[in-house]
C-alpha cells in the first residue's frame, strides 16, 4: 500500500482561524515540493475535537484509507488522547499519527498573522516529515501473577496481608524474627484515641493464623529478587540456615521492615552507660511487659522520673512524629502506676498532628505531670543540666530518665533497597515515587513501601499506608487480567552494543540488565518507562526509544529549523 497522509487543520473556532491564514496553510501544504510524489488529503475543520469533528476525522481516515495522519490543532496536552482514541476506532495504528500545535505555538503567541501562518506551515511540514518515519507499534499483553510478597511482619505488614489475602490472591509474609507483631507487640497500651488496649493487634495475629491464603515464614529473609510488576521471581532464605532457600513467584512486593531506635549513647550530649537508670521508651514498654511495672535495676519504684523528648532529633534531621504522643502515654502509665511518682517532661516542641491528641496532652497535664519547655539539655547518668526556653539554666537530679529517641531506618534497608532497585532518601529511608502525589509507590513498579520503613509513623498511619498499598495492588494487579506495559520503550541494538555497561547505571528504573553470554546490555521492556536517559548515555549510539528514534526526531527538527 502506498503512503497516503491525511492533514487536518483545525480552526478551533476563531482561536486559530482568526490568527493564521487557514487557506494559505492548506494551499502551501498541498503543494509542498518534497511531497509531490506522496498522496495527500488536506482538509480543514471548524472544531476537530467536537463530537462532530471526531466523527468527521474517523470517516476521513476510513474513506481515504489513510496510512498516516497529521492533526494541526492545539497542545497535545489538550487533545492528543482525543485523536489517538479516534485512530483506535479505525484501522490506522495510533502511532502513525502526529499532532502539531498551531494554536499555543503559533496563533496565540505570534501577533503578526503572516508570521504565525509561516510558522504553522513550517511545523506542519515538520510533522509530515516525521510521520512518514513513524512505525506502527502494538501493545503487548503479559500474564501476571496476583500474589504478593510482604517483607516484615510488624503491624504494617500484617495489615497489608489481611487486606490483600483472598481466594484468588495468595500472600507470602516473611519475618526475620521468630514472631509476628514487630514493635507494636512490645507495647502495653496504645493511645487513648486508639482504644488503649492491644486487642486490635491480638485480633490481627489470630486472623493471620486462621487465614489459609496467608503463608507466614518466620526466621526468614529475602535472598534475591528479579522481575517486574506482575512477575517477580523471589528467593527467600532461613535466617539461621542461609543455605536453606525457597523459591516464590509474586506479582507485587510490599516492604514493611519497620524502623529502629537511635542508640542514645552515641550522642554527644548524653554521657550514659548500661548501668545508669536511663532507658529508651521501648525498653520501658518491655520492662512493663516483663515486670508488670516500671522499676529501677534494684527493683524499687523510682521517685522522680524525667521524660526527655526529641533525643537525637537534630542529629537525624527530622521529627519522629510519634514520640510526643507515646511519651505522654509513658507519663500517663507512670502516674497510673503510682500518683506519687514525680514526672517531668522536657520537651522542645509538642508535635501532636492528630486531631485527638491535644485532648490527651490536657489529660496528662491534669495528672500533675510537669512540662518544661527546653532549648538544650545535657545528660550525665541521671543528672540533667538544662536551659529552658527563657534561657534560665537548671539542674535536675532524678532516679530515672526515659528517652524518646529518634526512629531510624532498619538495618538491612540498604541491602534490600539494592535488591529491590528502590532508591533511598537522604535520611536512609526508602524513597517514594513522589513524596506528595505517589507516596506509597516506589520507582520500581510493583514495589511499595509502608509503615516505619517509609519514615517515622504511628500504628494508625502504618495501617493506612498498608491499606493504601493494598488499594494500589487491587487496582494494578487484578487476578486474571493481563498487564499492558508501555509501548514506547527503548531497545538496545545487539550489533552495536559494545558491552561497556554505561547504560546500566543511568537507568533509574533498573530496566537494563547485562547478558553475560552475549556480552551486551539488554532492556527489559516490561520495566522500561521510555524515559530515554540511556539513549543519550550510550557511547556507541546503540540504544533507541521507540516512537522517538533519531531519524524520526531528525526529520522533525530538520524541517522546523530550516
Amino acid at each position: 500500500m502506498s503512503d497516503k497522509i491525511g492533514i487536518y487543520v483545525c480552526e478551533c473556532g476563531p482561536n486559530i482561524a482568526s490568527k493564521v491564514d487557514i487557506d494559505k496553510i492548506m494551499e502551501e501544504i498541498s503543494n509542498l515540493e518534497d511531497f509531490k510524489d506522496v498522496e495527500l488529503v488536506v482538509r480543514n475543520h471548524k472544531l476537530l475535537c467536537s463530537v462532530e469533528g471526531k466523527k468527521f476525522l474517523e470517516n476521513e481516515i476510513n474513506e481515504n484509507n489513510l496510512t498516516h495522519l497529521v492533526c494541526a490543532a492545539c497542545s497535545p496536552r489538550d487533545h492528543d488522547t482525543t485523536f489517538i482514541n479516534v485512530c483506535k476506532k479505525t484501522e490506522l495504528n495510533p502511532y502513525m499519527y502526529q499532532i502539531v500545535n498551531i494554536r499555543e505555538q503559533c496563533a496565540w503567541i505570534i501577533p503578526d498573522k503572516e508570521e504565525a501562518t509561516e510558522k504553522a506551515i513550517r511545523i506542519i511540514h515538520a510533522g509530515m516529515d516525521r510521520v512518514l518515519y513513524q512505525q506502527p507499534l502494538e501493545e503487548k499483553q503479559l500474564d501476571s501473577n496476583p500474589d504478593v510478597l510482604i517483607i516484615g511482619g510488624g503491624i504494617a505488614g500484617m495489615e497489608a496481608a489481611l487486606k490483600l489475602a483472598s481466594r484468588d490472591r495468595l500472600i507470602y509474609l516473611i519475618e526475620k524474627t521468630d514472631e509476628l507483631g514487630g514493635k507494636s507487640a512490645k507495647l502495653n497500651q496504645l493511645l487513648p484515641r486508639q482504644g488503649v488496649n492491644l486487642n486490635i493487634l491480638h485480633q490481627k495475629l489470630s486472623n493471620i493464623k486462621s487465614n489459609k491464603y496467608i503463608k507466614v515464614f518466620t526466621n526468614t529473609e529475602l535472598a534475591s529478587i528479579v522481575g517486574f510488576l506482575g512477575n517477580f521471581e523471589i528467593v527467600i532464605k532461613d535466617v539461621k540456615d542461609p543455605e536453606n532457600t525457597t523459591e516464590l513467584l509474586a506479582g507485587a512486593v510490599i516492604v514493611a521492615t519497620g524502623y529502629e531506635l537511635l542508640d542514645a549513647t552515641t550522642l554527644d550530649k548524653y554521657e550514659i552507660s548500661e548501668e545508669d537508670e536511663v532507658y529508651n521508651a521501648l525498653e520501658i514498654e518491655e520492662m512493663i511487659s516483663k515486670n508488670g511495672k516500671i522499676v529501677m535495676k534494684n527493683g524499687k519504684e523510682p521517685q522522680k522520673v524525667a521524660v526527655i523528648h526529641c533525643v537525637g532529633r537534630s542529629e537525624v534531621g527530622y521529627c519522629s512524629q510519634t514520640c510526643c504522643s507515646y511519651l505522654l502515654k509513658i507519663s500517663k502509665m507512670l502516674k497510673e502506676q503510682s500518683s506519687k511518682i514525680e514526672v517531668v517532661e522536657l520537651f522542645k516542641h509538642l508535635c501532636l498532628p492528630n486531631k485527638q491528641d491535644e485532648a490527651f496532652f490536657e489529660q496528662v497535664k491534669d495528672k500533675d505531670v510537669e512540662f518544661i519547655r527546653i532549648k538544650d539539655v545535657n545528660v550525665t547518668g541521671t543528672s540533667i543540666e538544662l536551659t529552658d526556653i527563657s534561657d534560665a539554666k537548671q539542674k535536675l537530679d532524678v532516679d530515672m530518665i526515659i528517652l524518646g529517641t529518634a526512629m531510624i531506618p532498619a538495618k538491612e534497608t540498604k541491602y534490600l533497597a539494592e535488591e529491590l532497585k528502590v532508591e533511598l532518601d537522604e535520611m536512609g529511608f526508602y524513597q517514594e515515587a513522589h513524596l506528595k502525589i505517589n507516596p506509597i509507590s516506589t520507582n520500581t513498579d510493583g514495589v511499595f513501601v509502608v509503615g516505619g520503613a517509609h519514615g517515622p509513623t504511628g500504628i494508625s498511619e502504618s495501617m493506612l499506608q498498608a491499606q493504601a498499598a493494598a488499594g494500589k495492588i487491587f487496582t494494578q494487579l487484578i487476578p486474571g487480567q493481563k498487564i499492558i506495559p508501555e509501548v514506547k520503550v527503548s531497545e538496545i541494538l545487539e550489533a552495536y552494543c559494545t558491552g561497556c555497561k554505561t547504560c546500566l547505571d543511568v537507568c533509574g528504573f533498573g530496566a537494563i540488565y547485562f547478558d553475560e553470554d552475549k556480552g551486551i546490555s539488554v532492556v527489559n521492556e516490561a520495566i522500561c518507562r521510555g524515559c530515554g536517559n540511556c539513549v543519550g548515555s550510550c557511547p556507541s549510539g546503540s540504544i533507541r526509544t521507540r516512537h522517538f528514534t533519531n531519524p524520526q526526531l531528525y526529520q522533525e527538527v530538520k524541517e522546523a529549523l530550516r
Partner: protein, 430 residues
C-alpha cells in the same frame, strides 16, 4: 450486589481525584461530585507546595486533565448530593446539579464572555480579594475551563434587565443559553467516598487579632492567593490598597488552635512556606514567625523549616498564644505578645498573616445527615472504631479520606484515599 461497578466520590480535591483515577483504572464507573464549578480542591489555590516547592499546577493539572478525559469518570461540577438511601453495595443517590447556562461541550474556554458582562461581584474563591463577573471562571487555569453564570447575580436571569444578552452575543460558539434549570440526577452506586476536605476557621471572631478590622491583617489562604501568579494581584506582593509593598511581615502560628482544641498539623509548614515566599519576593523585608509549637510531621519537613529559619525569617516564641493583641496606629500594626519570659513584648509590622485553623468543610453537617454518618466532636467525619488506622465510617459502604477526616497534608490525604480504594474494591468485589 447490584451496582457493584459504580462508586460515588464527593469532593474533587487531591483525595477525591486520586481515588477516582485508581478506581477508573480498575474498571469501576465513578461519579465525582464537586460543589464548585472547578475541580482540584484547595491545592490549586497554592502556587507552590511544601516542602520541595513543587509547582502545584504541575502536580495537579495533569491529574485534573486525566480525570476530565477519563471515560469511566463522570464529573459533576456545581453539584451537591441531596439524598442517599439504601445500603452498602446498593445505594440510591440523588444529586442536584446547578444550572450553569454554558454548554460544557460547546464552550472552548476562550474567555470572550466575561469582559462584556456588566455585573461585578465578589470572588469568594479568590478569598474576596478581587471581583468577578456574573459569568465567570474563578481563576485563570481553572479546570474544566468553562464559565458558569451566577443566576442570582445575572441581570437577565434575576429579572433586573431581561434585555441583557451581552455574554450570549460575545460567544462565537453559541455555548451560552440563558434558559436552564437545575438538573436532578439519580444514580445507583455500590460505595461512597467522602472527600470534602476542609474550610478555614472564621477568625473575625478572634477580635483581639484585628482580622476584618485592619486591612493589613490577612489569613493564610488570602496570602496563598496573594502570592499566586494566577491570583488577584498576579503574584505581586502588595497590600489591599494595590500598591504598598510591605517592608515587615509577621506570620502568627496556631491561630484558633485553642478554640478548635486540636493542632491543624499543616500550618507550621504552611507558615514556613509563607516566610520562604516573602523572602523570595521581598529581599530586604523583615520577616517574623511567631509560634508556640513547631509541628513538622514528615521526615522531609524539618530540613525545610531549618532552611527557612536560616534564610528567610526570625522565629519568635510566644509563651501564651491566647494573650496576643494586634492594634493599628498610623497604618502600622502593633503586635503585643508574651515572650519566652512571659513578659509583654511588642513588634511593629506592616502586614500580619494569621495561620488559622482548618475546620470541617462548610456544609459537612448537612451532608453527614444526608449520608447518615457520625461526626466527631470537632465536626470532622469519624472513622471507626477508635480511629485506629481506618477509613471506614459509622455507616457500612461509606468511607472517608483526606481532610474530611481531619487536618492533614497532601500525602497523608492521598494515602487515606488509596486506603479507601482498597476498602471499596474489597466491598465491591465481595
Amino acid at each position: 450486589m447490584e451496582h457493584s461497578e459504580n462508586v460515588l466520590i464527593i469532593g474533587s480535591g487531591v483525595a477525591g481525584m486520586e481515588a477516582s483515577l485508581m478506581l477508573s483504572k480498575a474498571g469501576k464507573k465513578v461519579t465525582l461530585v464537586e460543589k464548585l464549578s472547578l475541580i482540584g480542591g484547595k491545592t490549586i489555590k497554592n502556587e507552590e507546595t511544601y516542602p520541595n516547592m513543587d509547582c502545584s499546577t504541575c502536580l495537579v493539572a495533569p491529574i485534573q486533565q486525566e480525570i476530565l478525559q477519563d471515560g469511566n469518570i463522570t464529573v459533576l461540577t456545581s453539584s451537591q448530593v441531596t439524598a442517599v438511601s439504601g445500603d452498602a453495595g446498593d445505594f440510591s443517590v440523588k444529586i442536584n446539579k446547578k444550572a450553569g447556562y454554558v454548554d460544557l461541550v460547546a464552550c472552548l474556554g476562550c474567555g470572550m464572555c466575561y469582559p462584556v458582562c456588566p455585573v461585578e461581584q465578589i470572588n469568594e474563591w479568590e478569598e474576596n480579594l478581587i471581583n468577578m463577573k456574573a459569568i465567570y471562571v474563578p481563576c485563570a487555569g481553572a479546570l474544566p475551563n468553562v464559565p458558569v453564570i451566577d443566576a442570582d447575580k445575572c441581570l437577565h436571569l434575576n429579572g433586573t434587565d431581561k434585555e441583557c444578552n451581552k455574554c450570549v452575543e460575545a460567544c462565537m460558539f453559541g455555548a451560552i443559553n440563558l434558559v436552564g434549570e437545575d438538573e436532578q440526577l439519580d444514580i445507583d452506586v455500590g460505595a461512597i467516598l467522602i472527600a470534602t476536605g476542609y474550610d478555614m476557621m472564621d477568625i473575625s471572631i478572634l477580635t483581639d487579632l484585628g482580622y476584618g478590622k485592619y486591612p493589613g491583617v490577612y489569613t493564610a489562604m488570602e496570602f496563598e492567593r496573594l502570592f499566586a501568579a494566577n491570583g488577584p494581584t498576579e503574584g505581586n506582593l502588595v497590600m489591599r490598597d494595590g500598591k504598598t509593598v510591605p517592608s515587615s511581615v509577621a506570620i502568627i502560628h496556631c491561630v484558633g488552635r485553642s478554640e478548635s482544641h486540636y493542632c491543624s498539623s499543616v500550618c507550621c509548614m504552611a507558615s514556613s512556606k509563607h516566610a520562604h515566599f516573602l523572602r523570595h519576593k521581598l529581599k530586604d523585608a523583615k520577616i517574623y514567625n511567631i509560634y508556640s509549637d513547631i509541628c513538622l510531621p514528615d521526615k522531609t519537613y524539618q530540613k525545610f523549616y531549618e532552611d527557612v529559619k536560616a534564610h528567610s525569617s526570625q522565629f519568635i516564641y510566644q509563651s501564651d498564644r491566647d494573650k496576643m493583641k494586634i492594634t493599628e496606629k498610623n497604618g502600622k500594626l502593633k503586635i503585643e505578645y508574651l515572650d519566652s519570659k512571659e513578659k509583654s513584648a511588642f513588634l511593629d509590622v506592616d502586614m500580619v498573616i494569621l495561620a488559622n485553623a482548618l475546620k470541617p468543610a462548610i456544609g459537612s453537617d448537612e451532608l453527614g445527615k444526608v449520608l447518615g454518618i457520625n461526626h466527631d466532636k470537632f465536626g470532622f467525619v469519624e472513622a471507626q472504631p477508635f480511629n485506629i488506622g481506618t477509613v471506614v465510617t459509622s455507616k457500612s459502604g461509606v468511607f472517608v479520606a483526606g481532610c474530611a477526616e481531619g487536618p492533614k497534608d497532601i500525602q497523608s490525604s492521598i494515602i487515606q484515599s488509596e486506603a479507601a480504594v482498597a476498602e471499596i474494591m474489597s466491598l465491591l468485589n465481595s
